[in-house]
Each structure stands twice: as structure tokens, then as C-alpha cells.
């Protein structure tokens, strides 16, 4: 393995700072790199076929200039940032790109990619149904199946039950290790800062699963043993919302006398709470992604066929995993962050805040435009929020 000079947290930081470095090396060694957007494309299939999955993010420090050519300014800036980087040739190391219809604008990336970016020879758009209904799971299994058939062409090999099983086990191992990583923030003060944690999460999304797993093992050991620990702070916060792949917000919050100890974001825990269940077949993957991953993009109810709706029961069925995290990590405040123009998360805000109110957990809602520069005005609000908690 090529990158042996650096290890543990400092390796995570290195990859965080230069995400494509390792996959470029792997590509030079003959590996094929498959970029994927959002956390719904089943990475297990990519891994099982000997390809390297690479999660595509935007870049919050890069001003969006080229994307105006292909998108309007009134859509999700995360999506615009990805398009912008694509148009600037920054994804030239990808052999394939897989998108998912997890939200309308996100799905559009693949269409724009085909229209304007054209960088990767292979593109696939996975339709993801909107509900967790049983027919929807079967439909999604069919979608995964046609994705499998398509990407087998790129890989030049067929997916076998055995390869898929092995890949599922490796990714499940990663899920387990990530949960252990998050456990390191249960003590007060936490053993790991939220910015360090994010660097690890971003690094994982930029590495082959086996390298990610050994990185996680190293880091868990390193953190458990290290002498210098984060200092105590006044409050313990949970951060909720869509994609957040930059340490700026976490640094900002932690500079305001608060620790972020856990999150419900799609770069953080969302993809890691649940394991893919045996038997490790396509149906299990459909069930895992569509039903077990809890993202507001999927419509769910307290129970199917319910002829009466109870608001509080409804909220509890949708958000009780957040309640559990609040209890387990000793959280005393929640920061709801969202990217401007995100409909799927936006509609959730008043209801989630109401739910937190009923739990007696104060919350604050902040909106940003997925740029480092939009963090500055948020600072005062986060500080004042922390002051109200004190």
C-alpha cells in the first residue's frame, strides 16, 4: 500500500485536505474509481466488483463560477458546487459516476453531467422511490438490479453472491467501526473533537472500504490512548441536517463553548446506524437503503394503512432515533442546519423543532449556502444559542 508515511488522525486530516490523492494513486495502479452522489447508491456493489467508491462532495471554499452556465442560482448550492467542480475538470479521475434520485435537484446532477461535464465515461442514475411501502422496496431492488447489470460492464466482471456477501460484510464492519468512533464522544468532555470526527468521515468517503476500516481501527486506538484531550465545555450539541462536509461549522460551534458530540447528517451517522442484513442479496440492499437509512427524502408514517394520523405519534415514529441519540450522547441542545433551497430538509424544520420542544431540548435553525464564507454570520447566532443554554 502506497500511503504508509502517515497514520491515524493525521492521515485522516491529510486525506480530508486532498480527497482525491489516494484514489488517483489507486487509479494509476489500474483501479477504476466510481464517484457516487448522495448516500443512496449501494457502495457494496461497487466494492464487490473490484471498483473503488468515491463519494462526490462539493467544495465550500471554492466560489461557484462555472456552474452558472448550467444551472440557475436558485437551486441547492451543494449541487451547484458539484457541477461547478465538474465543469472545472476537478473530477477527471473518475471512471464512472452514479447518481440517485434522492431529491430532484440531486438527480439532475447526472443529467447535467451527461450534457455538460462528460468527464466520466460511465454514468448511471438510480431511481429511488419516495416511500418505504413494500412495493417500493421491490421496485428499488429492480433499480439496483439494473444498476448492477450496467456497472458490471464497467467492471468487466459479473457480480456473484460471494463477492456481494464479502463486500456487505466489509461495509458492515465499517459501520460498526464508525459507531465505535462515535462512542468516543459519549464521555464528557468527548475524546475527539467534532472537526476531527468529520475529517475521519470525509476520509472514509474517499478511500476503499478496507483502507477505511484500518484507518478507523488506528484512529480508535490512537484516540483512546492519547494524552491530550479536548477541554470541557459548557454544552453538548447534536447537529442535524443535510450534507455538511467541511469542518468550518464545527470549528465555529466549538469556538462558542460547545462540543458537538453527535450528528444526524448525511456525512455523519446517517449511513452508519444500521447494517445491511443477511442474506446479503439485492433485496437486502433495497431494504437497507430505502427503509433503514433515515433521511427526510423518504416518506414514512407511524404505520402503513393508518386511517387516523396523530401528530405526536407521527413525529415520534419519524424522529425517535434522534431522541435516542440525544439520550445516549447526553445532548442538551440541537443545531438544525440546512443548505438554502433544500426542500426535503426545509419542510422538516418546524416539525422537528416541535418534537425537540416536547423533549425539552432547545434548538436553533441555521441556513447557509454551502460556502465557508456563509459561516461568519452564523457565529453570533450559535454563540447566543449557547449563551441561552448556559
Amino acid at each position: 500500500m502506497a500511503i504508509a508515511t502517515n497514520k491515524g488522525l493525521s492521515l485522516a486530516r491529510e486525506i480530508y485536505a486532498d480527497r482525491s490523492k489516494r484514489v488517483r494513486e489507486l487509479r494509476r495502479d489500474g483501479k477504476k474509481i466510481v464517484g457516487y452522489i448522495c448516500l443512496y447508491p449501494p457502495v457494496e456493489i461497487i466494492t464487490a466488483l473490484g471498483l473503488v467508491p468515491f463519494r462526490i462532495f462539493g467544495d465550500m471554499s471554492e466560489p461557484i463560477t462555472a456552474a452558472d452556465r448550467v444551472s440557475t442560482t436558485m437551486v441547492c448550492p451543494f449541487v451547484r458546487s458539484i457541477l461547478d467542480l465538474g465543469l472545472k475538470g476537478k473530477f477527471d479521475f473518475l471512471d464512472g459516476v452514479v447518481g440517485a434520485h434522492t431529491c430532484d435537484i440531486g438527480a439532475g446532477i447526472i443529467l447535467q453531467w451527461r450534457d455538460a461535464i462528460k468527464d466520466a465515461p460511465f454514468t448511471h442514475l438510480l431511481d429511488v422511490p419516495h416511500t418505504d411501502h413494500a412495493p417500493a422496496v421491490d421496485y428499488f431492488e429492480g433499480q439496483i438490479n439494473s444498476f448492477k447489470r450496467h456497472i458490471e460492464e464497467l467492471a468487466g466482471e459479473k457480480l456473484t453472491d460471494d463477492k456481494l456477501k464479502k463486500a456487505c460484510e466489509m461495509h458492515n464492519e465499517q459501520r460498526k467501526l464508525v459507531r465505535q468512533l462515535y462512542d468516543l464522544r459519549k464521555p464528557d468532555p468527548p475524546l475527539l473533537s467534532s472537526a476531527e470526527n468529520l475529517e475521519v468521515m470525509v476520509a472514509l468517503s474517499s478511500l476503499p472500504v478496507e483502507e477505511g476500516n484500518s484507518l478507523l481501527e488506528d484512529i480508535i486506538q490512537e484516540v483512546t490512548e492519547r494524552k491530550v484531550k479536548p477541554s470541557p465545555k459548557k454544552v453538548r450539541l447534536l447537529v442535524w441536517g443535510p450534507v455538511f462536509d467541511n469542518t468550518a461549522l464545527y470549528d465555529l460551534i466549538e469556538s462558542a463553548d460547545a462540543h458537538v458530540v453527535v450528528d444526524d447528517t448525511c456525512v455523519g451517522t446517517r449511513a452508519f446506524w444500521a447494517d445491511v442484513k443477511p442474506p446479503y442479496n439485492l433485496h437486502a440492499l433495497a431494504q437497507h437503503y430505502l427503509v433503514d437509512i433515515k433521511c427526510p427524502r423518504t416518506y414514512r408514517q407511524a404505520e402503513p394503512f393508518e386511517t387516523r394520523r396523530d401528530y405526536d405519534k407521527d413525529l415520534d415514529s419519524r424522529f425517535n432515533y434522534i431522541k435516542k441519540a440525544i439520550v445516549d450522547w447526553g445532548v442538551n441542545g440541537v443545531v438544525l442546519q440546512s443548505v438554502k433551497y433544500c426542500d426535503t430538509h426545509g419542510y422538516e424544520v418546524p416539525n422537528l423543532r416541535h418534537y425537540l420542544d416536547t423533549l425539552g431540548i432547545p434548538s436553533i435553525y441555521i441556513e447557509h449556502d454551502y460556502s465557508e464564507r456563509s459561516m461568519a454570520p452564523i457565529k453570533t447566532r450559535v454563540e447566543a444559542f449557547v449563551e441561552t443554554l448556559g
Binding site: V70, A107, D138, R308
Partner: protein, 453 residues
Amino acid sequence: MSDSVAPAKTEQKRAINRLKSMYPLRNLVAQDYINTLQASNEGKPTVWAMLNYWEGDLPLKAMGLNIVYPENYSTLMASSGTAEPFLDASDSDGFPTHMCGYGRSTIGYSFRMMKQNDGKIPPEAPMGGMAKPTLLLGSGIICDARFKWFQALSRYFDAPEWCLEMPMMGTFEGTEPDLEEYQVKFLVRELRDFIAFLEKLLGKKMDWAKLEELIEVGIKIHETCWQIHELRKVSPCPMHSTDFWSSMPPALFFAGDMYEALKCYQDMLTEVQERVKNKVAAINYPEKYRIVFAELPPWHSLKFFDNLAEMGWNFVYESYGYHNPRPPDLSKVSDPVEKLARLSRNFVFNVHPYAKADGIENPIVETYLRIAKGWKADGLFLHPLISCRAASAGLRSVQDQLQKRLDVPTLWVEGDIIDKRVFNPQETLARAEAFEQTMEHYRKVRKSRGLDW
């Protein structure tokens, strides 16, 4: 018969030559609001539904339910200038301000009704208001707001909700030949579950005969509408976009009595055929430019199209999402649920037939290329919206590709469906004058390339 182009002097009050057959169709929507209020007063169930491209409309109608469409209601709020306080109400209940304008205005309506007015209709509501729902029907077609917004309404109503499924729009992943049957199977299962749910909710059985009959009427309505809009390919175009928008609900979501709607559309077809025969234009001025409008119109400023008509701008086609495609031949399908599944699926895959052959892999782009060619557009009027992501996101690609492939230029005017403050009609008119030069230029370029318009 060049004299017949010139309209009689008395009709020259309005620059747009409205179709007489449009008015009864427009009134059918009003009837739904009245019926639903009455039903609610009598304690009968009422439904708030999202546009669902007939999947839900027809089973609900077959079960005798009264339906209103909040999306349509917000356009009424916008066009009657009453939307602003409702938007403010949504903001004040903590919903982010950047979201769908339709969603925000009806969330605001629900908030006013349930949290500020004792469950009664707010007095400022236009058209007498929407009665409190006993069922909410969300939909997964076209945009995320369609189900998230309805889910968010649980904040105000204890009404149960169902979210209807639909595969996403035409992409090669969805149009491989063997996928059609798999998609139909998915929709059939979903619809059977939905009908079972309705039966459980209402405590009565589906009237299958009625459902089949309504599907047949619906297919006839769609066939008639399709014929009407094909006739708009002639020059001068006999029907203006404003007439389409005013008359679309009985085809788009089967507003009003469907039998009556069919009769009205047949009258409209006759009137349009007459106009074509007599070369009567949809505007009372010579048709200088044929314009295609995309996407959602500025409901609050429709009078603006009269000003453009005075300049000889005829709007010949519009808003693909509001048009039904020609219905498929379903005569060999016996199961009504399957018929319905195929009819609805046809919207997604026939408004957007996947056209890899042209080297275009973007269904919306493909759609507008087809429209621009078919309806011989001199220009595209693009109206990206502040508060609608789904309708705005792909418009840059549409603009680019139309220019590149067909030399059809675009007038880009930012605005909104609801919020009239962001739309400047006067400035737009000044720009339209400049755009005429652009259209003239590209007319020559198209000729030189051998294109026929």
C-alpha cells in the same frame, strides 16, 4: 381570406383573442371548490390532493370523493393577489422562506385556519376557501415538495395521508424495454394498496365499474386535448397559452364533472378547428413571433401577455408538465388498475420519451427541442422561479441546447409563481423589444441552416 385575420373592431378591447369555449372549462374548477365546501358542511369526506397525473384522481372520483388541489388553490391566491398574508403566515410558523411558493401559501392557509381561526376557513381566503381535509394525498411525481409539503401539513390536520409513487422521468435507466412491465407492476401493486386503504378509510368498496367508466372518459378527454394542441402548430396559432392555462385543470387533474369536461373540450376542439379553417389567430394582431413559454407562469401578472400580444407575440405552446400526452391504446388491457397505471405512467414516459439517438440525455431538454420544432418557435420565454426548484433547475440546459441545436433564442426573465415582487413587467417589455431583434437574427440563421421556420 386575408380579411378574416383582422378581427372585428368591437373585439379589439383585448389583445388576446380568447376562446369562448375556454370559459366553461375555467368554471369547472370553481365548481369543485363549491362542491367540496358543501360536502364538508354535510359531513362528507373531502380530499386535498397533489397533482398526481390521474393515479389518485380517478379512484377518488370513482369512490365519490370531493377533491381540491392546494397547488391549484395557490395559483388562485396568486392571481387574486391574496397570497402574501398566507406566505407570511407560513414564515411565521417557522417554515424556511426559500421553499416552494405553492407549499408556503397553503401551509400558511392551513396555519391560519387551524391555529388562528378555530378550524374555520380564514375570511380572506379566495373562492370561499378550501374545506378542511379528511384525507391528504401526496405524490412522488415531478417534485419533492409534493410529498414533503403534505407531510408537513400533519402539523395542522389529523387527516390521514397517502403518498402515491411514480417512477422518475424519462432517462435511459427507466426506458430500457424490459423495464416498462416492471414499472407497471410496481404501480399496479401501489394502486391496489391505495385502493385497499381508501376502502378501509371510507368503509365501503371501490365501484370498479365506475372507475373503468371514468378511465374511459379520461382517455377521451386526453385524446381531445392532444388534438387541440396539435392544431396549434399551424400559423397563425389559434390558441394562446393563457387560454391553455385557464382551461387545463379538467384535463390535468380532472377538475369538475368529467362528462361535462369532455363535452367542453370537444367544443373547444370545434372552435379551434374553426379558427384554423378561417386562419383566425389567438391574438388580435398579426402573428409576428411564435413563442413557447417555460415553465410555470406568473399567475399574478397574466395581463402582461396582452402587452406582448400587442407586439405580435403569440404564445403557441407552454409548460410541458401541464400537458397530457396522447393517451396510449389501452383497449386490450382489461384490468382497470392496470389501465390506470399505464395511463399515468404514460405521462412520465411519453411527455419525456427518452431520445438517446439525438445524443441528448436530458428529458427536459429533449421535450423542449421537440416542442420548439413541432410548434415552430421563434423564441422561448423562460421564466425561472425564485420559489420552485424543480421547474427552474434544468432551464439553463434547455436554453443552451435550443440555441445550439435549433438556433432558437431565449428570453430569460426571473420571476415567481406567487411572489409578484420579483417580476418587473415594464422592464420585461423593454427587453422584449430588444429580443425581437434576436429572434429576427436567428430566423435568418435557421433559414441558412435549412430549418423550415
